[in-house]
Symmetry: C2
Subunit: 355 residues, 2 copies
């Protein structure tokens, strides 16, 4: 027996989502290396690998350690770590049990990594900024960083980027995918000018995936697609029927057209981009809007709810779709599979592994 | 040895914050019942109780169970639970080890609670909406709900409210505190009209605390004050010098006036009210602004940073203040006390106890 709120995965929808993306990657001839920060679960990682993924992407050493501990043997830490001595010890231990790919995005970072890691067999890729303006070097600078790394003795195998600015309405996904391929192409040329072969040209996020230019990309790293979320629905990447994860929650208050449910920011996460319609969506009430979110309350406007359906009553259970599933999953210790009565849940193995 | 990012509490500042609020409550003659959802730590709960708090406030049964398990014997679940049979079993177990106060905010909720809890000794208070428009009944309706509860055999001892709309700039704190006392006064009168004595009149949040009308309130329930956070600094409730919790993080990227540190929304939380200047603040660089936040990246604009101080370099550790400390603490398993070298950390006992 479990009380609301709790996260539930619909395993049938999950498997359909995994199949869809694996099939698309295979048909396009690009390698699929899903980002495991989204699900954090050994069970889902194994399903991804069994359905054709070549390895996993992770964001932190801690996530890599978690997935290595359950037999994942090909891991890409897509993050420009500052390699201190202590991080290097952990990376060396990891490299003993998995093929490891690391990130650089500066000459200084490359020197630091080389100073600590020179005797360890790892692959290195250069992160490129394709327009999100977060980490990564400008595409034309990739060759300089790669050359510095090679000079220090590192094994540079290519370039990657994250088209995170594809999270936006009105064509942003298409624009970001175009900028992604152009940035990777220029970065690859920049490596070639320095006599380094850009074997790996990795890109992709869930919203840009369908526009990815597979004449340039060799690999894609979508994260959110196993579950999808309210952001993906509102971006047009997924339908309500493709959302595989939600928070089961209880209606605890009703005043007129306002209901309040017990799923707040401590289970949904507080992500709320400017273009989103609210703080998440209700799976069975598509016209409802979550107008505000506290730690343990979601305030829902049901004024537009279909009269025939009616708004949910006090004590009823409703299914809430988080805006951003990666941060929601990181708030729970386990995910209920299908329904509590089944008695199965998956631990979120890599939850909280921030470092 | 611990790698960034991790949360650190400054224990000297923590104790000063605890003393300041305990002293103020004592001087005003109101009981202090801090909200423990903020810190989730046994160590801090005990310090609050030792310095004069009469008990704790919590948001969920799980939080109550966590604090009861470490000897806290007076607990108020300030949340209108829908009391199913399973929740009632847990509440009865709790009532065996602690004085328990529960919340109602509807006639239906009172009937439900009474049906399951009638043979258990608990106190009940009516939640009142003083302007936040989340849960709670209108002040003048409090008597009706209280009377229904009494008729069902529940022990109604008073009313409470949360002036959450005091989180805003330009006098919102003062307005909310005024509305809080007026709502509690009307609700108390509404109980008296139904011949129920409103012994408890509980209010208070960290930003409204200094304006709380102690001629009406008998109790205050601030949560954030042990740590404070970037929201409290920007609201004017706390100074930078009173912030006792931050994320130690590493500069992993620098391009011109933009630096990126490795504390993202998975350790800071993604809370970002419209009036906030960004997604958190840098303790030692007050002119810097966090312009965007991803799961593992904070992008910081350092263009306004004091030239004499200079912006932090690649690899440097910087201290980031979360916008909302309650959600940040909920993301980690432990909080480092003062510095990693001290070797002490406090487990976040009630982390993730959403239900």
């Amino acid at each position: 027996m479990i009380d609301t709120p709790y996260l539930v995965v619909d395993s049938g929808r999950l498997d359909a989502n995994l199949r869809k993306v694996a099939t698309r990657a295979r048909a396009s001839g690009v390698a699929l290396r899903p980002h495991a920060k989204t699900h954090k679960c050994a069970e889902i990682a194994h399903r991804q690998l069994e359905s054709g993924a070549i390895g996993l992407t992770v964001a932190t050493i801690g996530e890599a350690e978690a997935f290595a501990s359950v037999g994942c043997t090909d891991l890409f830490i897509a993050y420009p770590l500052w390699v201190t001595r202590h991080r290097a010890e952990r990376l060396r231990a990891l490299a003993g049990s998995a093929a490891l790919r690391l990130t650089i995005d500066s000459v200084e970072g490359a020197a630091r990594m080389a100073a600590e890691m020179i005797d360890t067999e790892v692959e290195v890729v250069v992160e490129v900024d394709c327009g999100q303006h977060r980490t990564g070097v400008a595409p034309d600078e990739a060759g300089k960083v790669a050359a510095a790394a090679v000079e220090h003795g590192l094994n540079v195998v290519g370039v990657f980027t994250f088209p995170g600015h594809g999270y936006g309405l009105s064509g942003a996904r298409h624009v970001a995918a175009t900028e992604e391929s152009s940035a990777l192409e220029r970065a690859a040329d920049s490596l070639r000018c320095n006599e380094i072969d850009p074997v790996v040209r990795s890109g992709g996020s869930t919203p840009t995936l369908e526009f990815a230019d597979t004449s340039v990309l060799t690999e894609v790293r979508p994260g959110v697609y196993p579950f999808n979320d309210a952001q993906q629905v509102e971006l047009g990447t997924a339908t309500f029927g493709e959302v595989a994860l939600f928070a089961a929650s209880t209606v605890i208050h009703r005043t007129g057209d306002r209901i309040v449910v017990d799923a707040g920011s401590k289970i949904l996460g507080a992500d709320r981009p400017g273009w989103a319609s609210g703080f998440g969506r209700l799976l069975d009430f598509p016209d409802a809007r979550i107008t505000s979110l506290s730690e343990h309350h979601a305030v829902v406007d049901v004024s537009d709810t279909d009269v025939a359906v009616g708004a949910p009553d006090l004590g009823e259970t409703v299914r809430v779709i988080p805006n951003h599933v990666c941060t929601a999953v990181n708030l729970v210790d386990e995910i209920v599979v299908d329904c509590p009565e089944r008695g199965v849940s998956w631990p979120t193995l890599a939850r909280g592994r921030n470092s």
